[in-house]
């Protein structure tokens, strides 16, 4: 199983499933990261966290601890 946290910078991945529950999971989905959508991993912040992705045509940044909840392929 690969997660968004492990996806390499510059790659495009497809979301398989969102793990976890509660507010964080809800928020991840609200922001448009849902099953089947494609995500472009743009870059990582200068201190190594958070990451910046392009999803549904806009830029989103999220901490790696949350990126880990997104299973991708």
């Amino acid at each position: 199983m690969m997660t968004l946290k492990e996806a390499s910078i510059g790659s495009t991945v497809k979301v398989v499933k969102i793990h976890g529950e509660g507010a964080v999971k809800r928020h991840i989905m609200d922001m448009g990261i849902t099953k089947g959508c494609s995500i472009f991993v743009r870059k990582v912040a200068p201190l190594g966290d958070p990451v910046e992705i392009t999803v549904r045509g806009y830029e989103l940044s999220l901490r790696k601890e949350y990126a880990e909840m997104v299973e991708v392929e």
Binding site: V24, H27, M29, K35, P46, L47, P50, G57, Y58, S61
Partner: protein, 714 residues
């Protein structure tokens, strides 16, 4: 007819610009009950309808205070209609909120904003098709260019008048059968108009709805299980997926995208440099330094515009005070009245209002950074460093500003979205040694440490350490800081600042500050003036015989373990520091009977050295750096924390931690330099270290979990 119209939309979609365009100057800013979020209301121009600006939100989940406020307003206050502003350049994510609003059943119009940018990018949006598929009227507008505003106003009045509710959007058949099961279970328990919204929330397991209708979700458990089995996922995921799939379908049908430039937009190219792995932090430091040199700097290389303007106004107030004093003398005005006017009102309020020019320049810089979209990048670049202290990457800016003056520092915390980070930052800013504390630092350094720069360095490190300590501890106190919001943040495209928005935010903040100065700060200054000018017989006396001196007599016992000795003067000085920290020196000058005292108080250095010794002086400095800030800063904290309860708590915490740390400093440093340290100081020192260690390392030092468990078992 006059209607109540609500304005809802995502953050960064031009909502503020549209609100300003619709309402012009007729705005009132209040706040939503129970939360520190601005509530703006204004009259829509050319109508008698009122527009309520809901906070910017991405969804109708019940997890952030913004979402709860919006949801409660739509459900409980029942606005006649809703304008949902949508960013046409970012349709998919924006429509996610739209679909939920449609389910709420309130008559609504979609304002399709930023159409000018869509056109210039070459994209084509079929507005009529979009309107047909969404089942609500869609009006293309550009809030920035003020196009389509009249059509929007006409349409929203018409929709509010006809009460035409949106046509619900249907998803798959198994989705709909689960929804109808949920609707049946909820009948009579929630408002009829919004039942579809609640039914879907019940499927998702939304805490708020599950609580509202106890047992309802268990009652339809078999329907939910079947639904989850069919899609092999949890219900909340299926709902979000279905919504986004529907949106993708609608957008695919109605939007024709023009091919994009290989290099990306201008915004992309800027971003590649600004948040670059290697350049990101140097650029951030450069921008911060630039702001500092524009608004704060005043030393060897000259005076910044901010420092110059504030220096000028301070001098003006001083001169004005002298003029009034002279005039009073010439015209034989009663001494109490002239004292009240000159020392109480002009001295107190002037000390605070003098900072206004500097604040305006500073806010101008910050608001521009916010407007162009750089603030979001600051959070992105600095997040890693700050999160461990319960602070956000954006906390850096208020703390930096706080080195100049705590008041704009506290007010700068407004730009932090997360309520928890914002509150913790607002109460930590004044630990940084501000400009007014510098003379005090110089005095102590000069009196006992041969003017060593190490005293200055100590002050800054102490400030940073206590900021971190406060962050770590307050993060654990849920009652004060709330639940921290997860860091999942949109990075909006960069754009040029809009003059009107910038001017308005700067004006709003400056005005709020002036109002504070004219009310609470005025009253507090008068109170302190009264206490140090009168005795209990209400005779005008010197400060040495005043009510305040009497208080100092009592307070000196409290401060003895800090090594301040048997001297009431120091506690009185600390109290007058509440008006402005530099007052400490003037007060001590008076108390130690010095005719004329210089800025850094050279005249009393010997007395200080004799009475306090090195360790006592360092603890005196420590306490005054950390304890309750001046009234102006407390006023600013109240503005950010909203309630006097929270503000009082913050001030208490500041005094508490100041006391704790000062005792430790005295006992430890006193031992090192071989000064006499009493047993009580040693005992308190050990107790204090234990308290701090407990607060830092205990998982739940405030016993909150136990409290809630007790409530449940009862």
């Amino acid at each position: 007819m006059s209607y109540t119209i609500a304005l809802a939309g995502n953050p960064n979609c031009g909502k503020t610009t549209l609100f300003n365009a619709l309402t012009g100057a007729s705005q009132r800013v209040g706040n939503w009950p129970g939360v520190t979020i601005d509530k703006k209301v204004g009259k829509i121009r050319g109508t008698s309808s009122e527009l309520v600006d809901l906070p910017g939100i991405y969804s109708m989940s019940p997890y952030s205070p913004e979402e709860i406020v919006s949801r409660n307003f739509i459900v409980n206050d029942k606005p006649d209609a809703l304008i949902n502003i949508v960013d046409a350049t970012n349709l998919e994510r924006n429509l996610f909120l739209t679909l939920q609003l449609i389910d709420m059943g309130t008559p609504m119009v979609v304002a399709l904003n930023m159409m000018d940018m869509v056109q210039s990018s070459g994209d084509k949006i079929d507005v009529d098709g979009l309107s047909k598929d969404l089942g609500v009227p869609v009006i293309p507008i550009s809030a920035a260019k003020k196009t389509g505003i009249d059509e929007l106003v006409t349409k929203i009045e018409q929709v509010a008048g006809s009460k035409s509710r949106p046509v619900p959007i249907r998803y798959g058949s198994s989705f709909e059968s689960a929804v109808s099961a949920a609707e049946k279970a909820l009948e009579g328990k929630v408002p009829d108009d919004s039942i579809r919204f609640y039914a879907i929330k019940l499927l998702e397991g939304d805490d708020d709805v599950v609580e509202k209708a106890p047992g309802a979700r268990n009652g339809i458990k078999s329907a939910i299980d079947a639904f989850e089995d069919e899609f092999d996922d949890s219900a909340d995921s299926i709902v979000a997926d279905s919504r986004y799939n529907k949106i993708a379908e609608i957008v695919g049908k109605n939007v024709k995208r023009a091919p994009r430039d290989e290099q990306g937009t201008l915004s992309d190219r800027v971003d590649r440099i600004v948040t670059n792995r290697w350049l990101g932090i140097p650029i951030f430091i450069g921008i911060m330094a630039l702001i500092y040199f524009i608004a704060m700097y005043d030393s060897t290389w000259g005076t910044s515009p901010g420092a110059w303007a504030t220096g000028w106004l301070n001098d003006w107030f001083e001169g004005f005070g002298e003029d009034v004093a002279g005039w009073c003398e010439e015209n034989n005005v009663e001494p109490w009245l002239s004292g009240l006017l000159v020392d109480g009102i002009i001295g107190g309020v002037g000390a605070v209002l003098g900072f206004l020019p500097q604040m305006i320049i500073l806010f101008l810089c910050l608001v521009i950074l916010e407007e162009i979209g750089y603030m979001a990048r600051v959070a992105f670049v600095m997040d890693r460093l700050f999160r461990y202290f319960g602070l956000s990457g954006k906390s850096f800016i208020p703390l930096l500003v706080g080195i100049g003056c705590g008041v704009p520092g506290v007010m700068a915390s407004r730009t932090i979205e997360s309520e928890s980070d914002r509150r913790i930052t607002a109460m930590s800013v004044t630990f940084m040694p501000c400009g007014a504390k510098l003379p005090v630092i110089a005095m102590i350094a000069g009196a006992l440490f041969g003017g060593s720069v190490l005293v200055g360095l100590y002050s800054y490190i102490l400030g940073i350490a206590v900021v971190i300590l406060t962050g770590v501890v307050m993060k654990k106190l849920k009652k004060f800081s709330g639940t921290p919001a997860p860091f999942i943040m949109e990075l909006p495209p960069y754009h040029s600042p809009r003059l009107f928005n910038v001017a308005k935010s700067v004006f709003d903040r400056a005005w709020a500050f002036v109002k504070k100065a004219a009310t609470i700060i005025l009253l507090s200054s008068i109170l302190i003036w009264f206490l140090c000018s009168y005795d209990f017989g209400l005779n005008m006396v010197d400060i040495g015989d005043s009510i305040l001196a009497w208080c100092g007599e009592g307070l000196k016992y409290v401060f003895m373990p800090l090594g301040w000795g048997d001297n009431w003067e120091f506690s009185v000085a600390a109290i007058t520091g509440l008006v402005a920290k530099e007052n400490l020196i003037a007060t001590m000058g008076t108390l130690f009977s010095v005719e004329e005292i210089s800025e850094e108080g050279e005249e009393i250095w010997e007395v200080l050295a004799y009475l306090l010794g090195k360790a006592g002086a360092l603890s005196f400095l420590t306490f005054n750096l950390l304890c309750a800030p001046c009234f102006a800063a407390i006023g600013a904290m109240h503005r950010e924390l909203r309630t006097w309860k929270s503000t009082g708590f913050a001030v208490l915490w500041q005094c508490f931690i100041a006391y704790l740390v000062s005792v430790i400093v005295f006992a430890v440093y006193g031992t090192i330099v071989g000064q006499e340290v009493g047993t009580l100081s040693y005992v308190l020192c050990i107790v204090n270290i234990a308290i701090i260690a407990y607060l830092v390392w205990a998982k739940d030092p405030f016993r909150q979990l136990n409290d809630s468990e007790e409530v449940k078992t009862e």
